[in-house]
């Protein structure tokens, strides 16, 4: 429980004061917009050091247990930190797969040994995590995963390939979903979940270039890679339910994440501020009635998202579709952001055509890059179209 509002307010002031002193200045090279775009050693070192500094100051994993490096406080304290990170335009906290998916998963379902072994190093950025779910032929259809893991004594031998492995080329560990029993009657029952090391012979991560021109994810190849059998999380054949739990954390359906600051925060106010400075037909862009009407639409979408987030905490206003708002956060939020960024990128006259690297580009091509980058959100973690199916089936009860 939150002790009281005064304590939280005092904490907010402490955090703000610390950030005013400690948020690093622009390093003079391009920083990633989200954790999906860490593409150079220079970025990696910078972000690792920044996360370590934040954690050392006692501002990361606010509500995680102290025995694993957390602060043992109420989740409200983490929200305060995240909000202040956004307000101070702080660089992202990049070890997101560890902080937001693996950490909460281990705290929820892991053994004491697993918690002790991994969680603190996730917070300190000593160890980086990646995720091995999607495969070249199986993106949204996760149940069809083909990468094989065959038990051999006290090891598993892994063969196959994973794709879109964010941070894969830098990671120390992977949450890996692999098929241990191809003969299982239900395809889901043949899957197992591993906390696999990455730095072993037979595992190679090859960076993939994205539509933004940047790197950040990989195709990961497993060629007779031997990982310890102790890496198996839960039972052999019980991987599907662990993977589904992971997705709940990834999609924000279930709380427990250690930092929400995994991307540069871009709000509707940023959009309006940017457009306010632009002109069209020799007049302020914001005097154009069509633009004004469009902006009302964007502001309403932003407000509806914030209101819905608040409304989730009022069960009496969610009696018809109790899980509906939570299950539609990603569907609504990521698509709204994509359109908002595209809109801003396209209202800059001839400069709309410029990209990162051109001295004339509006804010260094920030909006163009942000628009492209946003596809990571509308595709990753289950595409918008898969989200629509989930809402249709699990909220509205429509048939598969």
């Amino acid at each position: 429980m939150v002790d009281n509002k005064a304590a939280l307010k005092a904490f907010r002031e402490d955090v703000a004061a610390w950030m005013a002193e400690n948020v690093p200045a622009d390093p003079g090279f391009l920083l990633p917009l989200t954790f999906l775009e860490v593409g150079t050693e220079q970025q990696l070192d910078f972000l690792r050091e920044w996360q370590h500094k934040l954690w050392s100051a006692g501002y990361l994993g606010m509500h995680w247990p102290t025995e694993y490096g957390g602060q043992g406080a109420d989740p409200a304290y983490q929200f305060v930190v995240d909000r202040e990170l956004g307000r101070h335009n702080a660089p992202i906290i990049f070890n997101t797969i560890g902080l937001n998916w693996v950490g909460p998963l281990l705290l929820d379902m892991g053994t004491d040994e697993e918690k002790a072994k991994y969680i603190k190093k996730i917070l300190s950025a000593e160890e980086i995590w990646c995720q091995g779910f999607s495969e070249p032929d199986h993106g949204s259809d996760l149940g069809a995963v083909q990468t094989r893991a065959v038990k051999d004594g006290d090891e598993y031998v892994v063969n196959g390939s994973k794709i879109w492995t964010t941070l894969g080329n830098y990671a120390d560990h992977m949450i890996l979903l692999a098929r241990t029993n191809p003969e299982a009657e239900r395809k889901y029952d043949g899957l197992s979940f591993f906390l696999s090391p990455m730095k072993v012979a037979g595992i190679e991560a090859h960076p993939i270039r994205k539509v933004t021109g940047e790197y950040g994810f990989n195709q990961t190849f497993f060629t007779d890679a031997r990982i310890p059998a102790s890496c198996l999380m839960g039972e052999e054949g019980g991987g599907w339910s662990v993977a589904m739990k992971t997705l709940e954390y990834e999609r924000g359906v279930t709380a427990g994440q250690a930092s929400g600051h995994w991307g540069v925060t871009i709000q509707v106010d940023d959009m309006i501020d940017e457009l306010r400075a632009l002109e069209n037909d020799g007049e302020a862009l914001l005097s154009d009635p069509i633009v004004r009407d469009d902006l009302v639409g964007f502001i309403m979408e932003a407000k509806a998202l914030s209101l819905s987030a608040r409304r989730m905490a009022v069960p009496a206003l969610n009696t018809d579709y109790p899980m509906g708002l939570a299950l539609s956060v990603k569907y609504r939020g990521t698509e709204y952001e994509r359109r908002m960024k595209q809109y801003t990128a396209s209202k800059q006259g001839a400069r709309s055509a410029l990209y990162v690297g051109d001295a004339d580009a509006v804010r260094g091509g920030f909006w163009q890059r942000a628009y492209f980058s946003n596809f990571g959100a509308t595709i990753g973690g289950g595409t918008t179209q898969v989200q629509a199916n989930i809402i249709a089936e699990h909220v509205l009860g429509l048939p598969k």
């Binding site: 902006l295 509806a304 987030a309 206003l317 809402i391 429509l398």
Partner: protein
Amino acid sequence: MSLTQNVAISLTEEQGMLLDVARGFVRDQAPIEAVRAQLETETGYDATIWQAMVEMGWTGISLPDAVGGAGMGVGSAVPVFDALGGGLLGTPLLSTTIAGQLLWRAAGEKASDWLGRLCNGEIGTVALLDHADWGVANTGVALDTGGVLSGRKHFVADAQVADLYVVVANESGTPVLALVETSALAPGALSANVLIDLTKRAANVDFTGAKPALVVRGEAVTSALRDTLLLGALLTAAETTGAAGRCLSSITEYLKTRKQFGKLIGSYQALKHPTVDIYVGMENARSFVYHGATIVSEEALSRDAEVACRMAKVAADDAMVYAGDRAVQFHGGFGFTWECDSTLFIRRAQWAQQMYGGAIHHRKRLAALLLDDEGGG
């Protein structure tokens, strides 16, 4: 200050109880057959149901104790209209509530007697529109020096059944409210409108020659009128949101039971995904409507409350127009028939989207509030 700063949303214990009770009432008293039974009657409502609503205190919910109301604040009417919309139930409650708000906000306890009558079940309505434009002053009806009105109002909601009319008029060019009793109208003063939504009633009313029982003057008239129209938008949005929720259920029920090409049609993504968007639109509207319910009060409406009411109306209209339209389409040939309830939904959508101003009306004003008034929140 952030454009989306005020996102207060909550439900008081009283509002929660009202929502439960009103939904139960609609379920028990207003099955769709009962709604259909009123479509072609003159009054458009069932007097027994109205009496039951009066006895539950809904006519006084938004008015203060001092005039015989329940003193719960106008936000408490939101769950009631949400529930009534869910039943598509035709009643004069919206007209009466809005008449009560206008009178109370403009005249206060000076209008106690009249407000008490509204609380006790007499039907009130605001006669506003000179013609079709919600965005003008609408003070064309004149009150002459002899205290007699002249002029005509259009599309007066529930005019056929009203006991009291709050007429927006002018006295030598200054806006006033003239309270007219039915008995003061000339014979033949009413001519009924043929409304697109058969659960609703309205008429044009000629007030020429009528002597008001009370005239409300003063500066409060203009601000009361402004706030009341915003509350009308909010309460209509609440009713529309309820209707959108009901419309969504009717679509999903059909999609879960109707088979074509050997499959339940709800399994086709061409139907599934737009249905998700109907759902999302309905939830957006619900969030705005209850945000409005949380921040409106008996006081003059704040800028945030104005934004909330306008956004609620826009969101609810968008949701309902889309839901009603798709309801007809997704029911196929059956959807095109009078028998299908989609008929009721699409007609409600087209009625509601103009009430208290449509999307253009509110979005234009939101643009000014949000984009020109920097830091004003």
